[in-house]
Subunit: 293 residues, 2 copies
């Protein structure tokens, strides 16, 4: 394992410990509510968003205890969005992270509730932090905005609309979906760490977060063509079957790979202007570009 | 119109104005997202929860501007829960407030997103308030708890579990669902006004809110038998068709009416011990007991 992988695993372990402790305390009545939430929340996964939050905290000299609650809230929001996205009325996916998706395991009604519950619980964490002072309210509001009608939900809605309209998408259309549906929740950890630390490179970090989000979605589209089910833990080849617009369809596979590499270069260039130890963030860009899952 | 109706309409008008102004500013891309949110949010309805919030503010000498944002957040949470509850996988209701339910109008996928969006937007309002100080974070956390896995969602989940188990329900089972599924969001406005005003009768008001919530659900069950579609704006007779446990099934129609009246008496008795002008709250108990919609 190289230095990057070692640090990634350290961040991952720190987050998983925090997550496990929190999840164990969610004692619900009826038990199926807590079980269905934990099923999707504790299923492994790369935890890119929380790892990014912890890495940014380290890079900016912020105590990781400050960001951990927000990293957990973010991961809960991400998880709720996957549960609802997988529903038959939405993307209709039977697998997620190598296991049956939430509604396949617990039924649709419980899956809808598990998603609602995770979104609500994410903000429960934030409200506890808010009592500590205005800065924490600002961070919470930022996360909320990234998740909501000007953030991820706007991207999900646009994605659905474009599919229904069934027309040629422009690069602008596609990037709107990227920036909102995937980008906002990858921007969130970077921006939250930046606000909490009071780092002066806020605008650069915001730009970095956006580019990383775009890169992540591009590699997602590429992996839907080149990846395999075992490594990804979810169905592949769906985009083509469903005639979905992706960067692969827009540019071709090779063109998409070139655009992804350019996007990674742009992200790295931005990091040059950030105060702090950004070596891990640099490696993370490379990791996202070359990821197989 | 009697004095109670005049005041009810005044509170309603004040809330509707605030709601309309907020909703008009929700300019989303794509537009269908905002449209589907507004469709369910601006459909009239009794607005019992926000009216109760404003009435409690008046009773406790609290500036109504303090409670209005939370009243709106609460109504958004209530509305999201109705949209998701009406989905085919949940209660499968085609009508709500006299109109096609959200998924009938916009399709299931958009309805799921509209619900998610309203829940998220409700907390967006709260986070803005949180920046004003700790008290507002406490109120937000209370509202969040009423909505979440120890509140309304617990009640929805229990309701579903009981339906699946298909066994004889006890009074305790039924009241657990009442207290959580309906009761928590009716307790919320009373408790929020109480916290914001610093009123000393917090425990009494909390008890009052719980009894009012129980009364509201009991009259809901009764109206499913005795009400009519036009006044209620939603399907009736569903509980019996679906063999659902209600207080009517547990006690018989006359028994349920007697229990509801007793619950109303208990709520009125509690109000005796509350500091402030509670005349409207007294009339509200009577209104809920005798309501036809």
């Amino acid at each position: 394992m190289n230095e990057f992988q070692i640090r990634y695993n350290e961040y991952l372990a720190e987050f998983e410990k925090y997550l496990q402790e929190y999840a164990a305390k969610m004692v619900t009545s009826p038990t199926i509510l807590g079980d269905s939430m934990r099923y999707s929340l504790l299923c492994g996964g790369k935890r890119v968003r929380p790892v990014l939050a912890l890495a940014c905290a380290d890079a900016l000299g912020l105590d990781k205890q400050e960001i951990l609650p927000f990293a957990l809230a973010l991961e809960m929001i991400h998880t709720y969005s996957l549960i609802h996205d997988d529903l038959p009325a939405m993307d209709n996916d039977d697998f997620r992270r190598g296991k049956p998706s939430n509604h396949k395991q617990f039924g649709e009604a419980n899956a809808i509730l598990a998603g609602d519950a995770l979104l609500n619980e994410a903000y429960s964490i934030c409200f506890r932090e808010c009592a500590k002072g205005e800065k924490y309210a600002v961070v919470s509001a930022f996360l909320n905005e990234c998740a909501g009608i000007y953030g991820m939900i706007a991207g999900q809605s646009a994605d659905m609309q474009f599919s229904e309209e069934n027309r040629e998408l422009t690069e602008e259309d596609l990037f709107y979906v990227y920036e909102h549906k995937t980008g906002k929740l990858l921007l969130a950890p970077v921006a939250m760490a930046s606000i909490l630390s009071g780092n002066k490179s806020y605008l650069a970090l915001e730009q970095f977060g956006k580019l990383l989000g775009k890169l992540f979605q591009m590699t997602d589209d590429i992996l839907d063509v080149t990846g395999d089910f075992k490594a990804l833990g979810k169905s592949i080849g769906k985009d083509e079957t469903e005639n979905k617009w992706t960067c692969v369809r827009l540019y071709g596979l090779e063109g998409a790979k070139i655009r992804a590499a350019e996007c990674a270069m742009d992200a790295l260039a931005i990091l040059e202007g950030v105060e702090g130890d950004v070596s891990f963030l640099r490696d993370l860009v490379d990791y996202v570009l070359k990821r197989s899952n």
